[in-house]
């Protein structure tokens, strides 16, 4: 069964759709990257997948069930998201502790009147260990650096204990070491073959290294879909991004690597 199935979806924010008929099936356990120029609809597609924005046409299903019949809580138990602006956001004006924020990841399982159970505490603890924020547990989120903060929001998403993780440029505000650190974490989580990861990434080379398949979007339509070495070709990138590039394979990993050519 596919973890996510998107068939002929059109969606947007009212008016002209941003996504104009995209179909995509993500099998369970895959690490899929979504790439494309600015305004190609990457984030819109990510927001449509867990039903944050509704589709105008087409159908989206999560583990075989239509998102519309799952309901927001049902979806939040199967799909966790880490969005790009979390690191900059700083969690507003309130000095919630790291532990408080990660515990919010349990929201889809909690009732209005009850407190967190031992199972919730265990999930929170495990999530903090995995994203290496356990030592920050009591620190207020407002005092952390951008990189630490993003790790906290990753822990929050992990505490949701979902089979599907959606990432929207999770590393865009971070330096290279933090970028690699975070992507290594998701690659490791993905390795058990149970967890499905769909990530919008800005950096073509990071995407080439970490993704099993890449969806290349242009103007809300699928421009290419396949393994990195088939999608990230000189012709594809020059055609879609309009930049002159040279693609060679990374001597360390054998994955394609995109070099820019100065005009």
């Amino acid at each position: 069964m596919n973890a996510i199935e998107i068939s002929r979806v059109e969606c947007g924010y009212g008016g002209e759709p941003v996504i104009k008929g995209v179909s995509l099936a993500v099998p369970r356990g895959e690490f899929l990257g979504i790439l494309g120029p600015n305004g190609s609809g990457k984030t819109t597609l990510l927001r449509a997948a867990p039903g944050i924005i509704s589709t105008q046409k087409g159908r989206i299903s999560i583990n075989g069930t239509d998102v519309r019949s799952l309901g927001p809580r049902g979806i939040a138990r199967q799909v966790a998201c880490v969005m790009q602006d979390n690191a900059a956001l700083g969690a507003g004006h309130l000095a919630f502790s790291v532990h408080d924020i990660v515990t919010m990841g349990r929201t889809p399982y909690l009732t209005r009147t009850g407190w967190e159970t031992a199972k919730d505490h265990e999930a929170v603890h495990k999530a903090m260990e995995l994203s290496e924020v356990a030592q920050l547990s009591d620190r207020p989120i407002t005092e952390l650096s951008g990189g630490e903060r993003q790790r906290v929001f990753i822990a929050m998403a992990l505490a949701q204990e979902c089979g599907i993780i959606i990432l929207d440029e999770p590393t865009s505000h971070l330096d290279i070491a933090h970028q690699v650190g975070i992507l290594n974490l998701f690659a490791a989580l993905n390795r058990d073959g149970e967890r499905t990861t769909v990530a919008v990434l800005h950096d073509l080379n990071l995407a080439a290294e970490y993704c099993e398949r890449i969806l290349l979007l242009k103007d809300g339509r699928t421009a290419a879909l396949g393994p990195p070495d088939e999608v990230l070709t000189t012709e594809n990138i020059e055609h879609i991004y309009g930049a002159s590039v040279l693609v060679q394979s990374n001597p360390a990993t054998g994955r394609p690597h995109v070099f820019l050519k100065k005009a």
Partner: protein, 329 residues
């Protein structure tokens, strides 16, 4: 300390404080009552009057604090408060319209109903004016609040001036504009008490939603919240509670700002703990403020709104300065 332990300890301490303040308020005031004679028949009318006043302080104080908490979380704005954002003036204008305009339809429900309608309208107006795209920046929201506040206040004065001829004095309107816990209508107090009680209970049930919303709407949606529906409900609760408070006691400002922030300083930002404790602390605070209002002058009493504004104004400046780096973003 776990949130649960914090809540339990806080509930015990604040309940004790509230009970003590309540009894103190029975003694405080112009006329002296000896402790031994608190229940004596000759003092019964006075004690009853003071008890009713304290009860009203409890209702209004709890209500305004919880309304402040809701607005701060949903709008992600540390300076939000029903008074600052003009929701109270909206309610005041509605109530004044019903009272001074001589609305006879809906019977006794006219005043609280109009206050609720006014609060809701002001809430919607401030939110719409303050919104920029999908975000609600801190400063535009405050400016919208200032505008709604001053327009509603001037309409109120206008209404008062044009209806003096009907025998309702400007002085009484001014008195009401500054707030007072004097009980004119026991039915109104019971009604407001019920509305605020319901509002506080709903807010306690939505404490987790408030937590998640104060992180942001997008993350809240990803955690399974129906964001728009929840926001609407919470705005209605804030308007209901504010409308009820204003209909009975007039415009008592800054309670929703001072109390939640003070409690937050002690117990942290978790609304599961904060909502019930702020309700209790707000109740205690307003009864205390009323004791001051009744005893600070050698004779007569000060409007309670003067006391809360006197404390709240400087507190607002303090918050503004403390948050300025984050707010300017």
């Amino acid at each position: 300390m776990t949130p649960r332990a914090k809540l339990r300890t806080g509930l015990i301490l604040l309940s004790a404080a509230l009970v003590c303040t309540f009894f103190w308020s029975l003694f405080a005031g112009d006329a002296y009552i000896p402790i031994s004679e608190l229940f004596a028949a000759k003092y019964a009318p006075l004690v009853e009057l003071r008890a009713a006043r304290a009860l009203m302080g409890i209702i209004v104080g709890a209500g305004l604090s919880v309304a402040g908490l809701i607005l701060q979380a949903v709008l992600r704005n540390p300076l939000a408060d029903p008074y600052v954002l003009g929701v109270s003036s909206g309610a005041g204008l509605g109530a004044a319209f019903a009272i001074l305009g001589g609305v006879t339809a809906f019977g006794q429900w006219a005043t609280p109903g109009a206050a609720f309608a006014g609060a809701t309208l002001a809430m919607m107006l401030v939110y719409t004016l303050g919104k920029v795209g999908r975000a609600v920046p801190v400063y535009t929201l405050l400016l919208a609040g200032v505008i709604v506040n001053s327009v509603a206040s001037s309409l109120l004065i206008f209404l008062a001036h044009t209806t003096i001829a009907r025998g309702k004095g400007l002085y009484s309107v001014m008195w009401w504009l500054l707030g007072s816990l004097q009980v004119f209508d026991p039915w109104l107090v019971t009604t407001a008490g019920t509305a605020i009680g319901v509002g506080v209970v709903i807010t306690i049930l939505f404490a987790r939603d408030l937590n998640v919303l104060s992180i942001g709407e997008e993350p809240a949606a990803h955690l399974g919240l129906r964001v728009e529906r929840t926001k609407k409900l919470l705005f209605v609760v804030a308007s209901l509670v504010t409308g009820a408070a204003v209909a009975t006691s007039g415009l008592i400002g800054f309670v929703g700002l001072i109390v939640p922030h003070a409690v937050r300083l002690v117990v942290g930002p978790d609304n599961k703990v904060l909502v019930p404790l702020s309700a209790l602390a707000g109740a205690t605070f307003l009864v205390l403020a009323d004791i001051i209002a009744r005893t600070i002058l050698p004779s007569g009493e000060l409007p309670i709104g003067v006391i809360t504004a006197f404390l709240g104004g400087p507190f607002f400046i303090y918050l503004l300065r403390r948050h300025r780096t984050k707010l300017s973003k």
